[in-house]
């Protein structure tokens, strides 16, 4: 029974969505937005679930004197501090005329967001540039035929994306060899490869969905497929 009920709910919900895709008439046409509202409500509650889990794990790390306890302390201070600043700004903003939201520019919460959160996120994102360089270095080593083809394709695509390479060969020919070849690689082999993967993904999604709707695949609710 513990597994039958979730499977039944999944099957009904899956069938309703599948049918509503073909029936634009109300109420089927509206089912996606109705379910979307439900998901939003569930997510709003789940945020608290996540926050409480984070606090619980962090407090446990501190109490068990784990090696990571310093990071856990920073998490707790940051979480509670940001929450407190948000509540303070929201409360004091209500007393002002016109009322000020805690998210409005100039609030303490906005300061935390703009000068702490955003630069930290940007720092993590900017690390991508260095990782692309290190990954490219490994990928572009001509160890075998495939890697050599990748190296050649990469050279032409990168060369074709900047005007300098075409300009360098302009004394020899007016034909923009690099940009033409880069466009050709992107338009034909690259698009063909991507579409092949896309078709495979679409079939995989259909197959997985069918397995879940028909109750063949059950391991996501525990206990293997059977």
């Amino acid at each position: 029974m513990r597994r039958q009920i979730p499977i039944l709910i999944t099957t009904i919900a899956g069938l309703v969505f599948a049918i509503s895709y073909f029936i634009p008439h109300d109420p089927f046409g509206e089912s996606e937005s109705i379910f979307g509202d439900w998901i939003t409500i569930v997510q709003a509650f789940a945020v608290w679930l996540g926050a409480l889990n984070l606090l619980k794990i962090s407090f446990e790390k501190i109490s068990s004197k784990s090696a990571d306890r310093h990071y856990a302390a920073i998490i707790i201070v940051s979480l509670i501090g940001t929450l407190a600043v948000g509540f303070y700004d929201g409360y004091s903003g209500m007393a002002q005329d016109p009322q000020v939201s805690f998210r409005d520019p100039g609030t303490n919460f906005d300061w935390l967001y703009r000068f702490i959160y955003t630069p930290l996120s940007a720092t993590m994102f900017s690390m991508l540039a260095f990782f692309v360089a290190s990954a490219s270095y490994r990928a572009f080593r001509a160890r075998n035929v495939q890697a050599t083809l990748l190296l050649i394709a990469g050279f032409f695509v990168m060369g074709g994306r900047v005007p300098l390479f075409d300009m360098m060969i302009s004394p020899i020919t007016d034909f923009p060899v690099f940009s033409w070849f880069a466009d050709w690689i992107m338009t034909y082999p690259n698009t063909a490869g991507q579409r092949a993967i896309m078709i495979g993904i679409a079939l995989g999604i259909m197959s997985s969905s069918l397995r879940i709707i028909l109750g063949i695949e059950r391991s996501h609710i525990g206990g293997g497929s059977g």
Partner: protein, 426 residues
């Protein structure tokens, strides 16, 4: 001395090349700007203020929009004689709507010159302002506008016309047929598999490596990191990842290895907790399950990446498994894992991220392999049967593509008809 002289000569040459490139850039930019200015001066908007009303739009038609949920009317017309020709004074068309042929008419849309249709749809919620009611008579007219707001001409009035929702989207017939064929194929192969038919499934190196990777972690006494990606619990890639997590967790419980599942989404966390708990129960080791195996980190993309990278660098996991939906963080995570010396297995349906995983991980499940992985790991006949159906569907699609290419090149007319059988109008 000579070396320094050559260096100076080389740097001068480089400087010269740079200055020349800069000059070329400036010249081409100024040329394109002046060409753009010339083009812009040709548009009617820059012409002098119109002095006479333009010819009206003609042949106005209004009808219920096809294959929709109602609350929408499509209006079509023939261009004014002064749109792109004649006095060339039309700059836009204003669509006017009323519930009576005598008015008053309200503006419900504005489209630029050259446009010959407009879909009038608005609020479908009865309590919203501007609610578009089904089964109500509406009248339309189209006004050809000029740069002079006072000079425009109205088309004839059409109506009454009513909107209504359809019970079947006829534009999706090819999708319905494809789904039916695929479902029948799946049913057939599942039944054949149940009857004991031997189904060959191509080996997936990434999945075969899972057992080896868990064994390695056990031998090294280091944990396994399982990342479910940034998808929500509604994403099929995340659901596929749950099934793989279930298999991995069962093995982990059997081998008594440490598992760490940091989550980005609290709902995904709640589901993953249940999956891992069930796997530990199935493995006969419920007491080994701990609440901190699956834990929430944050709902912020790069904060999550920072936290997971921190876990990788501090715990140095023997194996990192990345399965699900990944975006810009894929390479940051995978490169950090490579730097930590972990065996890495990844799988995603996000096509732009596949090359990053391919480069940085030891094994990568490409696209559909992610969805096949759970069936492959389970080896149950029903699951393998569905994989076989997937392979046959792929063969049908490949054959259709080859036939289509041949027909388009040999019999273009029939080729176009053949192509239209696969077209979806949504």
């Amino acid at each position: 001395m000579r070396n320094s002289f050559e260096k100076t000569r080389a740097s001068r040459a480089l400087l010269l090349v740079f200055v020349c490139s800069l000059l070329l850039l400036i010249v081409s930019f100024s040329t394109s700007v002046s060409a753009q200015a010339d083009n812009d001066s040709d548009t009617p908007a820059d012409s002098i203020l119109a002095l006479a009303a333009p010819a009206p739009a003609t042949d106005l038609k209004a009808f219920d929009t096809d294959n929709d949920h109602g609350h929408s009317i499509t209006i079509e017309w023939t261009l004014s004689a002064d749109d792109g020709a004649g006095a060339n004074s039309v700059i836009s068309y204003r669509i006017m709507k009323s519930e009576s042929p005598d008015g008053p008419f309200d503006s419900v849309g504005l489209v630029p010159l050259g446009a010959t249709s407009h879909v009038n749809s608005s609020a479908i919620d009865k309590n919203s302002e501007g609610y578009f009611s089904d089964n109500t008579d509406y009248y339309y007219r189209v006004e050809a506008m000029t740069t002079n707001a006072a000079l425009f001409s109205s088309s004839e009035i059409v109506g009454p016309v009513q909107s209504s929702g359809q019970w079947f989207n006829a534009g999706l017939v090819p999708v319905l047929i494809a789904i039916l064929i695929f479902t029948i194929l799946t049913m057939i192969f599942v039944q054949l598999a149940k009857k004991g038919m031997d189904l060959y499934v191509r080996p997936l190196a990434g999945i075969e490596a899972v057992d080896e990777a868990i064994g390695r972690a056990t031998e090294m006494g280091r944990p396994i990191l399982y990342v479910l990606g940034l998808g929500s619990a509604a994403d099929i890639a995340t659901i596929a990842s749950f099934t793989i997590l279930g298999r991995v967790a069962k093995k982990v419980a059997e081998y008594q290895t440490e598992l760490n599942v940091p989550c980005y989404d609290p709902i995904v966390m709640a589901v993953a907790q249940e999956v891992v708990k069930s796997a530990f129960i199935d493995a006969g080791r419920p007491e080994a399950y701990k609440d901190d195996i699956v834990h929430f980190i944050t709902n912020s993309q790069f904060a999550y990446v920072g936290a997971v990278n921190g876990i990788i660098m501090r715990d140095l996991p023997a194996t990192n498994v990345y399965m699900g939906k990944f975006f810009a963080e894929s390479l940051i995570l995978a490169e950090t894992g490579a730097a930590a010396g972990s065996i890495q297995i990844a799988g995603t349906d996000e096509i732009p991220q596949i090359p990053f995983f391919f480069v940085a991980c030891d094994y990568t499940l490409i696209g559909e392999e992610l969805f096949a992985a759970s069936a492959y790991l389970g080896r149950e006949p029903e699951l393998l049967g569905s994989l076989k159906a997937q392979d046959y569907a792929k063969a049908v699609l490949l054959a259709s593509a080859i036939i289509g290419i041949l027909l388009i090149n040999i019999f273009p007319d029939f080729g176009e008809t053949f192509k239209s059988w696969f077209e979806v109008i949504d």
